[in-house]
Every structure is written in structure tokens, then in C-alpha cells.
């Protein structure tokens, strides 16, 4: 059995990691740390884990060596102690934004401060298997993925890979997100009377995840608009792009079909009948699947690409466990086969 530990396990991504790893057939959880919940049983913070584990939260200062270390700390924390973590584990998967961007300059531009461990940025592989599967298989250090960036990057993947969009034209991405994306710590904006029933555009452009989309898609002109909606889990990316010269609907079908055939957690949803004709996050709750869809207005030369995910799964913990599977040579889908619920 592989011994894994989770640093910062009391947050939502940490809880989701625990849920996945407790059921993973090749993994034993050694430690789950939390300063604020030190000594409490895991299920006292993550109630869905009652009767699944008798582990208690441990002190991050007492972290012991293990095979894989997951870091689920707030942004900015992992970079401060990365050398200590690397001494404790040969494999690290960091879910925060600390090691997602390859360039220290880019990090400073988007996060507003200089990186505390810039020499580590090149050692991390961006942890989206659909983009970097072979690199992840060889890697020891994996960065997490931004949930909004994941929905955007996966919506763009078939288009970019098959060169179906005009690189000279801007790509506009509308993202709708649920409240769990904001993390387990509350703020005035997450107070129930203020958050409930909202459709709130909290970032018309310039959201930090835009940097990951630019870096990973190679598209320079990306405008990403973030709107919070009345969901707990879920992110939906709607991409608007201009087609390259001569692109037809059949080109799009071929590209999307090829992409979903190559990736076990990508599904094409483009139905002619029924209710679920396009990707919707609702039915992906708890699942590592990402549903893709598209449409093409040939008359007005406009492509619409859609991706739905569970932000805590494909957009965080699910992709992280998928990366662990690849790093350790396990089946990529091990422990991640849950298809979601319907109805929900």
C-alpha cells in the first residue's frame, strides 16, 4: 500500500481528497493535518466520512515521511515550506495555485507578489492529465489546477488541438461557478442571505485563473468572465471563439470525438432529444467526469464550446488523484469511477 498524507485536510479540497483516498484500493492515509482542527476526528469536520475512518487531524509540524504528500493549503503557503515537504516525500501534489504558472514574472503579474520559491516552478508539471498525461507519468511534483481554468481548458482542448479556432481573434469564456469554489472559510459575500439566489458577476475580466488558460491553451487573447450562481458544487465554462478558415461542423465532430476517445474522464454531450442535451454540472456532483459539448453557427462564423465539471473533483481533488494514479503507475481511473447522481 502507498502511504499518503494530506497537509491542510480540513478544507473542502482536503475533504474531497480524503473521501477519494479512503476508498482507493492502493492507498493508506498516514496523516491528515490541520492546525485549526488539531486533535479532532476527521468526520467532525467532514461529516460524510463518519464510520469510514478513525483518524484525527494531526499537527503539520509533526508530519512524517510518506510516499505521496498532498498539499491542500491556502494559496501562498506551500511555496514557503516546499523544501521541507520535499524532504518528507518523493512525490508531491500541490492543489494550490503556488506552482501552476511556469514563470515567476507571470506569477507576480497575476498574484501580486513575488514567488517565494521560484526555483521550484520548473520542477512542477501542470496537473491536468488531459493536457500533460505523459509528463505526469514521469513527474514527482505536480501542481493542482484552477477549477475555472480546468473547465475553460477542457472546453478549449478539442479546438486547440485540432487547430480549429482563429488564433488572431480573442476567445471569450463565460464561467458560472458554485459557492464551494470560495473555500471553507466564510466572508461577508458568502453569508447565506447575501449568497443565496445570486447570479453575481464577481470578475468581469482579469481573474487569476485566466493566466492558466493562457499558459495551457497557448491563446494570448483570453477574456474570462466569472459569475457565481446558486450552486454549491459545479462550474460551467462557455467558450466563444472564431473558427479558423474552412472549418465545418464535421471538423468539430471529429475533433471532439477524438478528444473524448483519448481521455477516460471526458464525455461528449450533444443530444438531440431529452433534457440533458448540453453539459450541465448538476449531474456531475461528486464525479471526476468533465462533460464537453459544442455548437457551430456556420453562418456567423462562431463556435461555442461548453464544459461542465464538479469544481472540487475534476477541478481539484479528482484531477489530483488522477495524477497520483499516473505518477505511481496505477490505472488512471482507479478510485475515480463514480459517475455522479441522477436525479439530484
Amino acid at each position: 500500500m502507498i502511504r499518503v498524507s494530506i497537509v491542510g485536510a480540513s478544507g473542502y479540497s482536503g475533504g474531497e481528497l480524503l473521501r477519494l483516498l479512503l476508498s482507493h484500493p492502493e492507498v493508506e492515509i498516514a496523516q491528515a493535518t490541520s492546525r485549526s482542527h488539531l486533535g479532532e476526528y476527521l468526520y467532525q469536520v467532514h461529516p460524510n466520512l463518519r464510520k469510514r475512518t478513525s483518524l484525527k487531524f494531526s499537527d503539520p509540524a509533526s508530519l512524517e515521511p510518506c510516499d505521496v504528500l498532498f498539499l491542500a493549503l491556502p494559496h501562498g503557503k506551500a511555496q514557503l515550506e516546499i523544501n521541507r515537504y520535499a524532504d518528507l516525500a518523493p512525490n508531491i501534489i500541490d492543489l494550490s495555485a503556488d506552482f501552476r504558472l511556469r514563470s515567476p514574472k507571470l506569477y507576480q503579474q497575476w498574484y501580486g507578489n513575488s514567488h517565494a520559491a521560484p526555483e521550484w516552478l520548473d520542477r512542477f508539471v501542470y496537473g491536468l492529465p488531459e493536457l500533460h498525461r505523459d509528463q505526469i507519468r514521469q513527474a514527482h511534483y505536480i501542481s493542482g489546477v484552477g477549477c475555472n481554468a480546468t473547465a475553460a481548458n477542457l472546453a478549449l482542448l478539442p479546438l486547440v488541438k485540432a487547430h480549429l479556432i482563429d488564433p488572431e481573434k480573442p476567445v471569450v469564456i463565460e464561467i458560472k461557478v458554485g459557492s464551494s469554489e470560495g473555500g471553507a472559510e466564510g466572508n461577508p459575500g458568502t453569508h447565506h442571505p447575501e449568497r443565496s439566489s445570486v447570479i453575481r458577476t464577481f470578475s468581469p475580466f482579469g481573474h487569476r485563473h485566466t493566466a492558466e488558460v493562457i499558459q495551457e491553451s497557448g491563446i494570448n487573447q483570453v477574456i474570462m468572465t466569472m459569475t457565481s450562481v446558486d450552486l454549491v458544487r459545479g462550474a460551467l465554462a462557455t467558450v466563444h471563439a472564431s473558427p479558423a478558415m474552412g472549418v465545418t461542423t464535421k471538423n468539430l465532430w471529429r475533433a471532439y470525438r477524438e478528444t473524448v476517445n483519448e481521455n477516460p474522464f471526458l464525455r461528449l454531450v450533444k443530444e438531440q432529444r431529452g433534457i440533458y442535451r448540453v453539459p450541465e454540472p448538476k449531474i456531475l456532483t461528486g464525479s471526476n467526469y468533465a462533460d464537453l459539448g459544442f455548437d457551430f453557427d456556420e453562418e456567423h462564423h462562431h463556435i461555442i464550446s461548453i464544459c461542465a465539471i464538479d469544481n472540487l473533483m475534476k477541478g481539484a481533488a479528482g484531477s489530483a488523484v488522477q495524477c497520483m494514479n499516473l505518477m505511481l503507475g496505477f490505472a488512471e481511473t482507479l478510485g475515480l469511477e463514480f459517475p455522479g447522481l441522477h436525479p439530484i
Binding site: K250, W253, R254, R257, K270, E271, Q272, R273, I275, R277
Partner: protein, 56 residues
């Protein structure tokens, strides 16, 4: 059984041995209704589908 390709999305479709002319088959990828126009050679064409607005 013979294979044809969907005229809408180019998905490969297996026509069962007992398929008959004028039968409606559904494309497994794009879900469009296809009418079987002939069996030898196999030929299909999009069939009219009822438009829906999902109640919106």
C-alpha cells in the same frame, strides 16, 4: 449487419441484420434520427425530428 456513417457527425453506425428500409435508427454519437433509405448499398438520411424548446 453492415456499417454506415452518420451524415450529420460521421459516427460509425452498425445496422443490425434485421434492419428494414424506412426504419428509423438513432446515431449513437449525435442522437439524430436517421431513416434507412436502402440496404444494398446501405444508405441513411436525417429524418424529421420534432422541435422542442425544453419548456423555456
Amino acid at each position: 449487419m453492415s456499417n454506415i456513417y452518420c451524415p450529420e457527425c460521421e459516427a460509425e453506425i452498425d445496422l443490425a441484420a434485421d434492419t428494414f428500409v424506412n426504419e428509423i435508427v438513432v446515431c449513437p454519437d449525435c442522437g439524430i434520427d436517421l431513416e434507412v433509405l436502402s440496404l444494398d448499398p446501405p444508405e441513411v438520411a436525417p429524418a424529421p425530428m420534432e422541435a422542442e424548446d425544453w419548456g423555456e
